[in-house]
Amino acid sequence: MAEIRLSGRPASSGFAEGQLYVLPDKRVSRASTGDPALEAKALRDAITSASEALANMAASADGDAVDILGFQVAMLEDDALSEMAFADIAEGKAADVAWRYSMDQEIETYRSADDEYFRARSADLEDIRDTVLDMLSGGLSFAATPPGAILMARDLQPSRFLGMDWSKGGAILLSEGSPTSHVAMLARARGVPMIVGLGDLPRSIHGIALIDGGAGQAILSPDQQSLDQFIARRAEEDTVSARAAKLLLDDAKTKTGEAVTILINVADPVELDAISPALCDGIGLVRTEFLFNDDKNFPDEDAQYRVYRRLVEWASGRPVTIRTLDAGGDKPIKNLTFDGESNPFLGVRGIRLSLLRPDLFRVQLRALARAASHGPIKVMAPMVTIPSELATVRHMMAEEVDSLKARGVAAALPPIGMMVEVPAAALAMDLFDADFFSIGSNDLTQYVTAAGRDIGAVADLADPKHPAVLRLIAMIAAQGKDMQREVSLCGDAGGDPALIPLLLNAGIRCLSMAPSMVARAKLIISETSLSGDVVTP
């Protein structure tokens, strides 16, 4: 069988290799007595035994598991949970049918919640439902998973996780699930790699699977070459990550003593919950596209304000650079970006689109100005090509700040900066009135090399190591120094171990990268000497 590669959201990092095991759905084999009084008693007894079993499990658990199980016990002991089931039983329904139906109703209200934390609690409610169903059909039934297996399921429940033997390794692949779920917390605590949001998983598959939890990647039925690569990478990762982990919270410094500022890129604020702001010097890039995923309702000012404010609060005084909506190109948004452009990368994208839609753009600017009253927000415009675009952004922001203040709304004028990703901007940086610059190395590389990373046949040409790209980056760094403006780099190159030494030698002293790359980047930086091969413009 050909190998299958899957990618999803990382929920717990680490490598695993093991046999695939598809978790079967719960089936209850129980015959109704037909007597409402007996059915009610059966459910009452099952709820009591379930909460006793969970309380026992909690007594021998530690850390977060105690609270997670305690929550389930508290829910089970509350009559409000079973009210509806008992009413249905009184009307003639079987205990298991009534319980499942009422719990499914309850679970649905969690699944459809706006807040990801509450959505993630649906797995706890499913856990409660299934533990009681197990009790109704004679006892707990979750011991069958083979130790060390790579578990595939739609979602996984905390008590099932706790009932499994993880001492032989193993990993979790979920088609749904969430990095904020209780089971993801447990997996992180126990070091079990876990990937969520994989979409439809093949049901009829077996054999082995290779998991890279941190990258959110799984290979099912790998061929020999993938297996060899995996083993080599894991071995390398083990030694390097042990050394890198020690540097995670340290300031970044090169071997020759130069300080390097480390910022992080954020695609979805949920990612921040599991990490400490102490690992970075601030946020170098917030991609606000995640706010616009719902094509019918774009987020209003208050909704955006709340998200931006939460980012500022997380950063606790560190700067937070928020990029205005960067739709278009490889990031189409339904009902917003232009369909059918012959070349979307050269079309209406980034700030070009925002300036065509001032109605939407001003909402974002107002939300940013309000959040800026809570801490150091910096606003960054993407795809700026000519100075007047940035001047317009600056002007609009000033207008919005004035009108907010006139209405008595707390607001502050944030610094306005720009991405440097269009060669025209890179080559004429001195003409732009920007408070700071950030190199978007992905787009800069493809515009300089005239090769799209998403076009397989030319992807190799879109190489940030091309001397032309590195020379241009060195030019931008030097120009920023002349202008006394901060220059950072926030593309994928910023967290790439192979590129970091080259970027430092090109004069870059501020890198923004995915949080998972920070420890490794600090290690690479500490091993880089800046005496040798300096790239000059």
Partner: protein
């Protein structure tokens, strides 16, 4: 904010309110803590997210979780009974202490 006795006509009701400022709102662990604390009082204690209700039994974790109150929600408390004043004061204090949660791991 502090608890105070409202001079209701028929029965004495104590009221109080507090802003939810912990990262995850009235979540799994905070809900359990809140109901466990409420249960230590004899008073009938209710909670709402609007000053006018609807009022929810503050001793029921199931009902409190159904509210799905996020961070930034103001919680209103209402209690009647012998120890109503101390019940409301204790609940307001719990919310203002952010449920004694560590904020880094923003889970519930």
């Amino acid at each position: 904010m502090t608890a105070h006795k409202a001079s209701a006509s028929h029965e004495e009701t104590t009221r109080g309110s507090a802003l939810l400022t912990n990262a995850v709102g009235l979540h799994a662990r905070p809900s359990v803590k809140l109901t466990q604390l409420a249960k230590t009082y004899q008073a009938i204690v209710s909670v709402a997210t609007e000053p006018t209700g609807p009022w929810i039994d503050a001793k029921s974790p199931v009902k409190i979780m159904r509210v799905k109150a996020p961070k930034g929600t103001t919680l209103y408390f209402e209690a009647s009974g012998e120890d109503a004043v101390s019940a409301v004061a204790a609940l307001v204090d719990l919310v203002e202490r952010r449920f004694d949660e560590a904020e880094e791991e923003g889970h519930g």
